[in-house]
């Protein structure tokens, strides 16, 4: 079992692993995205209250879920990099940040698009929206800190510390924003009101959530592979690998 763990610390092995998995994962993700979107956007029943505008949840909810999970992926990689000084964990952490930020941005934008016809406003200071916006800034902060350092090994350590501090803070931020919201206005529109979601709507949603997770993994691998190509441009193993 430990051998498998150790293998993930070896750049040539991970490079080969990505090379092997991506050709399978890429078409699979594309098909899943197409099927999931078609199912959610065309075949799932229309909501009796919101009409067809609700269908954006098939993008919005998966993006939000994975955006938050992505932060923990990044922070876990940061922890591994800090404690065991595994260089590939740095690469993984760096790969996760822009993807997570993009997911967060998608969640915010789709939320705004949905909010306009449903709530009548592009932006509402709802607890969840605000938390999501702060999460976006946490991602951007990690990316900006990484760019600011010349020495990328040092940069990765700094980002790891920052993402761990963020990890401690995310639940506190979430709770406090929840509390703040309850002060400002009563929950006129409950985000979580649709707890009794019908299975005909739930299954495509779950499918899309899984697909977005897989998409995250795929993008991570592509990103890691690209970083490795850059980082080890002068290494013998990479030349051998590319010439094969």
């Amino acid at each position: 079992m430990w051998r498998i763990v150790h293998q993930f610390g070896s750049p040539p092995w991970v490079y080969r692993f990505c090379d092997r998995v991506i050709p399978w994962l890429l078409p699979l993700t594309v098909v899943a995205l197409l099927v999931g979107s078609a199912w959610g956007l065309l075949f799932a029943p229309t909501d009796y209250k919101q009409g067809d505008s609700y269908r954006i949840i098939y993008i919005h909810v998966p993006a939000s879920v994975v955006a938050l999970a992505g932060y923990y992926v990044m922070a876990s990689a940061g922890l591994v990099s800090l404690v065991w000084r595994v260089k590939l964990a740095d690469t993984a952490m760096r790969a996760a940040a822009p993807i997570g930020a993009a997911y967060t941005a998608i969640a915010l934008v789709t939320g705004a698009i949905w909010g306009k016809p449903t709530w009548g406003a592009w932006w509402v200071w709802d607890a969840r929206i605000t938390s999501m916006l702060i999460l976006f800034f946490l991602y951007v902060g990690v990316m900006a800190l990484f760019e600011a350092y010349e020495n990328k090994t040092i940069a990765a350590r700094a980002c790891a510390i920052l993402s761990l501090v963020g990890t401690v803070n995310i639940p506190i931020i979430y709770k406090s924003v929840d509390w703040w919201y309850s002060l400002h206005q009563p929950a006129s529109i409950k985000f979580t009101g649709s707890s009794a979601i019908d299975t005909s709507m739930l299954y495509p949603l779950l499918g899309m959530i899984v697909t977005f997770y897989v998409l995250f993994a795929l993008l991570m691998m592509l990103n890691i592979k690209q970083s490795l190509t850059q980082e080890y441009a002068h290494s013998a193993w990479l030349h051998k690998r590319l010439n094969d």
Binding site: V140, G141, A148, I161, V165, K175
Partner: protein, 232 residues
């Protein structure tokens, strides 16, 4: 150093270092006075921008005071480790026979005494200018006392991570402002509760919890951040 003397020397060190940092601050009074002046000036800007209506101002006062305290804190954090980093004393600290997480505490204490502590002492004055009732003054002072300390502890992590970067000021604000959100929310909540006749105890207790948690966790993160910046 003999191990049995380690504890005594640690306390000795902390007292002497706090004294040193305070002395440095007293010898350059601008460092103490400027944040207070900044606080005052920005507070003056709000009535000028929003209009002098006392009712509206007192409704906005908790938010204004806290946002301005937060900004003053960010400005303080930008300079926090800069001098000690530039003249190399930070490097000496990191290599000394004391855990770095403890070694930074005197600096934090001195900075807080010269900024957050003073700010809380004069804050009722600013509160009065914005139309906060005098009865709220103790809550205002208590919440700012604890809130500025939490913000300093959080901001110091960002300061430690960015001290080695040229022109890291804007970056620092980007890193730490999202982390300040809970402090801002809980701090203003304590005031709005007090003004509205509610019970500010919950918010104050949360701030106290923040101070305790921050004092335990953040020195570790600060030390780790400084080691990164010093490339040790």
């Amino acid at each position: 150093m003999a191990p049995e003397r380690a504890d005594a020397s640690l306390a000795h060190y902390c007292i002497r270092q706090t004294g040193r940092h305070l002395l440095l601050l007293v010898r350059s009074p601008g460092e103490i006075v400027n944040p207070l002046l900044f606080f005052l000036l920005v507070i003056i800007l709000f009535p000028l921008g929003l209009g002098p209506d006392p009712e509206m101002l007192s409704a906005l006062a908790p938010g204004i005071v806290w946002v301005v305290a937060l900004l003053a804190n960010v400005m303080l954090c930008m300079r926090l480790f800069a001098d000690d980093f530039a003249d190399g004393s930070l490097e000496q600290l990191a290599m000394a026979n004391i855990p770095l997480a403890v070694a930074v505490l005197p600096q934090l204490l001195a900075s807080w005494l010269a900024s957050g502590f003073l700010l809380s002492l004069v804050s009722p004055l600013f509160g009065l200018m914005l139309g906060l009732p005098l009865s709220v003054a103790p809550i205002l002072m208590a919440s700012l006392l604890m809130g500025t300390l939490i913000m300093l502890l959080l901001g110091a992590v960002g300061a430690a991570l960015t001290v080695g970067i040229q022109r890291g000021g804007m970056l620092l604000s980007l890193l730490i402002l999202p982390l300040y959100v809970p402090v801002l929310i809980v701090g203003t909540r304590s005031l709005t509760e007090a003004v509205g006749g509610g019970d500010p105890a919950v918010a104050l207790a949360l701030l106290g919890a923040g101070v305790t948690g921050g004092l335990v966790l953040s020195p570790v993160a600060i030390a780790a951040g400084l080691r990164v910046s010093l490339e040790l």
